[in-house]
Amino acid sequence: MTAPRMMAIGLLCGLGAAAALAPVLVAADPLRQTLSDALLPPNADYWLGTDHLGRSVLARVLHGAGHSLGIAAVSVAASVAIGGGLGVAAAMIGGITGRVIGAVVDATLALPAFLVALMIAGSFVPGPLGMGIVIVATTWVEPCRVGLLTTARARRAAHVEAARLAGLPWPAVTTRLILPALAGPLASLSGLMLGQVILTIAGLGFLGLGLRPPTPEWGAMISDALPYAGDQPGLVAVPALAIMLTVGLLFVATGPTIDRAMPSHVPTRRSV
């Protein structure tokens, strides 16, 4: 493991801890409006200043980290479990069922994912659960493809054939020999997906189609701050830097392994 990767992983753990401990770290309520304190520059009371409604930017950006990272982590885990499981099942069943699932995967992979997320999120104002559903619905296909291709390759490997000839039944072969082969590729893919999902959540928030206001959310914080950016550029810069730092670190932490881990050319979709 290279030094930059170690550093990136360490910093990400720190970010995660800060997000989880946000209610303890900052006393200020991210939702409490103090209009007489609106648009203050950074000072002793508000370390990063206040927004146009007099809410603490530090509290909002930290609580926003909890929302973005929390929803992203849970929905990526669900997406990898559902999609990956479906892929493994398709490769193990094979035959017509496997082919049909493969064809659905190929058709879905070519769809513009952010556009679909935008259409689904636009039809209702999502809460955290709704956002999770939007994310899973638009991201299950990549882990499914990786699960399908990796399993199909693992099934043909010599040691799997030997285990079958030795009389080990398929369920045991799957849990002991095939699933371990999936762990590496799926772990790398999860890291990459996590970054994309954070950008998707922020992108929807920016367009006003994300989490219900006044939930503190990075993308919505940026679009809320745009009219005041001339006087208070920090209002845009703080959430923007939070997004860039998180996703950039995730990219560094998973980037180099992704090429080796992928069974074939898996396009990484990113557009926001």
């Binding site: 769809l111 513009p112 259409m119 039809s123 745009l226 980037g255 050319h265």
Partner: protein, 309 residues
């Protein structure tokens, strides 16, 4: 070739069906609400009564059973008829044609610019170890930066501080510069990382060591040996980045209030103008699917050409 065309036709058909189904399902989620939103978009929110909303719903056939509405709409779509906007009552095709042209104009500037930037920088970075490190750092930066942040920063510097370019809107060529630069910068930096890795990987090929031993110049080796070996990856990613651009244009157009297809789609989503959502989403999806398939087909062909199947 025939296989490629068949695959394209099949996946385009599947994509149209999927997007249509999604667009349709979202209309099902809040049926009463749609009639109200449409009425509000037509007559002004304060003046809409429940009666007006119901009337609008009846008039638009929003109260028919769902499968019937989907069958109606899909049959019309297949025959090239996209229906009329529920807000403006204009045909969806007529509403889309001008924005579609503007989005294509944006892509026609941004995509070649991103290719120049990406392949140029990538070839340069791919030649040295230090270059690869720089490319990775820039790639991480580009991967993490949302397009609206780039757009805002470019706008703040070149439109507001320096006043060289218009802040937003659409008129002459100057209005295209900032949105196109935003798309080209992000796409180009990502392509630069991919190209740098591909050029570096190609650098280990024996033919390159041989050419260098024959004292062929570095630039000649790069152009004649390195880049052709790296071409399948670069070409595939270049087309993928065009697909990203068509999709990412939705956000960038909003930032610059550029009246393209993406802005049209977003306005329609906000006003729940279902026929326009469906029309714009289907057009964008078909374009993205076509470009994605083109990327696959071209990469496969180039791989066969350099004998690396």
């Amino acid at each position: 070739m025939t296989g490629d065309i068949l695959r394209w036709a099949a996946s385009t058909g599947a994509a149209v069906l999927l997007v249509a189904a999604i667009a349709f399902t979202m209309t099902q989620m809040l049926p009463g609400d749609i009639a109200f939103q449409v009425a509000a978009a037509r007559y002004d929110a304060e003046r809409v009564t429940p009666d007006t909303a119901r009337q609008v719903g009846d008039e638009l056939g929003l109260n028919d059973p769902a499968p019937i509405r989907f069958a109606h709409w899909f049959a019309a779509l297949v025959s090239g008829e996209l229906g009329r906007s529920t807000v403006t009552d204009r045909p969806v095709w007529a509403m889309m044609s001008a924005p579609l042209g503007r989005t294509l104009r944006l892509a026609a500037i941004a995509w070649p610019a991103s290719l120049l930037l990406g392949i140029g920088l990538g070839a340069w970075f791919g030649l040295s170890r230090r270059g690869l490190v720089v490319a990775t750092a820039l790639g991480a930066l580009a991967a993490g930066t949302p397009s609206y942040v780039v757009g805002f920063a470019l706008g703040a510097v070149f439109a507001i501080e320096l006043g060289w370019l218009p802040v937003a809107g659409y008129g002459d060529v100057a209005h295209l510069v900032l949105p196109a630069a935003t798309l080209a910068l992000l796409g180009g930096l990502r392509l630069a990382l991919v190209s740098a890795r591909a050029v570096a990987a190609a650098g280990t090929h024996p033919s390159i060591a041989f050419a260098r031993m024959k004292a062929v110049g570095r630039f000649r080796v790069l152009v004649l040996h390195n880049l052709p070996l790296a071409a399948p990856v670069i070409v595939a990613y270049a087309f993928l980045s065009l697909a990203f651009m068509l999709e990412g244009a939705t956000v960038v157009e909003t930032v610059f209030a550029y009246p393209g297809l993406g802005s049209l789609l977003l306005d329609a989503v906000r006003a729940r103008d279902v026929p326009v959502i469906q029309g714009a989403a289907v057009v964008i999806a078909v374009a993205v699917v076509t470009v994605n398939n083109l990327a696959d087909a071209l990469a496969g062909r180039l791989n066969r050409m350099i004998g690396r199947t």
